[in-house]
Point group: C2
Chain length 336, copies 2
Amino acid sequence: MATVSMQDIADRLGVSKGTVSLVLSGKAKNKRVSRELCEKIVRTAKDMDYQPNEIARSLRTGFTKTIGVVVTDISNEFFGRLAFHIQEQAKKYGYIVITTNTNENLNEFDDLITILLNKRVDGIIFVPVDNGQDIALKIFNNNIPMVQIDRYYPGFEANYIGVNNYKASAEATEALINMKCRHIAVICYDIHLNALTERRNGCIDALKRNGLYEPGLIINVDYEKQEEEIEQAIVDLKNKPFKVDAIFFCSRRICITGIKYMHRTGIKIPDDMQVLCFDKIESFQIANIPIHYIEQPIRNMGEKAVDMLIEQINGSEEVCQYVFDAAINTVKSVRD
Amino acid sequence: MATVSMQDIADRLGVSKGTVSLVLSGKAKNKRVSRELCEKIVRTAKDMDYQPNEIARSLRTGFTKTIGVVVTDISNEFFGRLAFHIQEQAKKYGYIVITTNTNENLNEFDDLITILLNKRVDGIIFVPVDNGQDIALKIFNNNIPMVQIDRYYPGFEANYIGVNNYKASAEATEALINMKCRHIAVICYDIHLNALTERRNGCIDALKRNGLYEPGLIINVDYEKQEEEIEQAIVDLKNKPFKVDAIFFCSRRICITGIKYMHRTGIKIPDDMQVLCFDKIESFQIANIPIHYIEQPIRNMGEKAVDMLIEQINGSEEVCQYVFDAAINTVKSVRD
DNA sequence: ATGAAAGCGCTAACAG
DNA sequence: CTGTTAGCGCTTTCAT
């Protein structure tokens, strides 16, 4: 079952492998190869079950038809859906995707980018990691097209796909205020990248505009120690001398953990506190409680990121920042 | 910013690229290259910011240090977690992962396997698609190591990692019966692969043993049309002339959709009907209802699949089928 | 219309 | 100890 090469089929037919290549890669339509030889080559290739060696082709052409995707954690529903749509869209263009996870870790980010670069991917779509600007610069220095997704490095001249975090957060906060919430808490990751800071600030500014801002209710947790820190935060909020009316969880994982501890500490949703989550969770559908959430157009984001990247791979030079609007929704409990 | 090759650094130092290769790939420790030349080469490589071209290396060595992973749908929490653990484990061995989705579609499965084979991946971990045995055979014919995960093709001599679906389903059903459930329904995909048939049969056999089997309560839905068919199933179950005590949802997606429609049709969980789900859902934690679920050791499965694959890549010939036990659990509502 | 040959960047014999 | 050389399988230019 030795793998058959173009040379093998050329030998069998007594022609040169150059001709075989021409025919098999579809470049013979310039009528430069006779119709019958064409057919004979194609038939023989099929007979011998020829499978092109993409590695050799890549070495020769300089293109791998592969894109690298670097997310935080593919098992996270948000990134899983994003990766799915990126993969499906890439498929349409004939590209394949190498997916990797940083776990928000700078060293992993560095390693992964180096590996992808050495594998000579044609482009990279990545979720920036805090303080990783120099690493992203390596991609730029290698002249590899890239698009930042979900977050961006300020002052870094590169493509970006994201949502209007600030606006969505501010509007959702206003909505809570309209529902008579007066003491609103925020739980967010201690990450200094726009996606998170904008969510935090959108909320804070809305609170300030309404004279409701209380610094003590803005809580930042460490990504690595989120479980314990969120638990602590929930307990603290419950024990405030005043009633906290709502909590804004800045990401889906924070929200799931947060709600879990709200249940454990006996906080009733929504009677004791309301919940606002940045990101829709598929199984909100099964939760029997009303939850307000901000929904990002994940599919559009993923597809657009690929479109943008492919354009650059095909030579486009223009850098663009594409910001989608997020939607504000509420899942109702069956009691309503 | 032209990319620098071994030749470039050889030229700069006036040595041959063969020596450079020897040093840079760490094979100079046989003391065959002088200590000082070694250091000079390493230093120069760093100075010139040399990055090895893995494509060229792959062409020459025949190894790509890449494994292909074919799942149903990466945005599905189960496969997302599985892919995550596969990727993290592969990372430990220095392998990178190309992830792709079949969406349970045979043609897509075929295309993806062909692409992975042409990309010369060193091994493939895949979730079998119904009727895709001939496609899996292609991998075998190319002498590429593989491991089937989650499901297997009967009679196909290949590695397999999965869980004891039959046993877990039977035991969970017995547990429902012990809770006085008398009319138990099953909603499952109409897929003829072990993972699904075993779940269905485990439940059916447990019911038979207890004289509770009713064929009319075993419902199979089409993957493509699951949304509508599950809705219909829930309505039908509600309208049975007797009270259905529990529903066994054979997969997480079916369960989420099912519970959604239970809410919509006003079925109270657990008072009207109990719910048993094959697979744990992260956000069961936020659902304020008691749900019984079967939890697969996803991390162990993913890691073991990689271990097994790497062993084969490294020359092992033995085929093995590794079956984990799944755990049976219950999330309680805060009311309990 | 087809063949011959160079070369992508690397590794691995084999020389010296 | 280090250099030379021959490919890996493919594309592509240049001859014929």
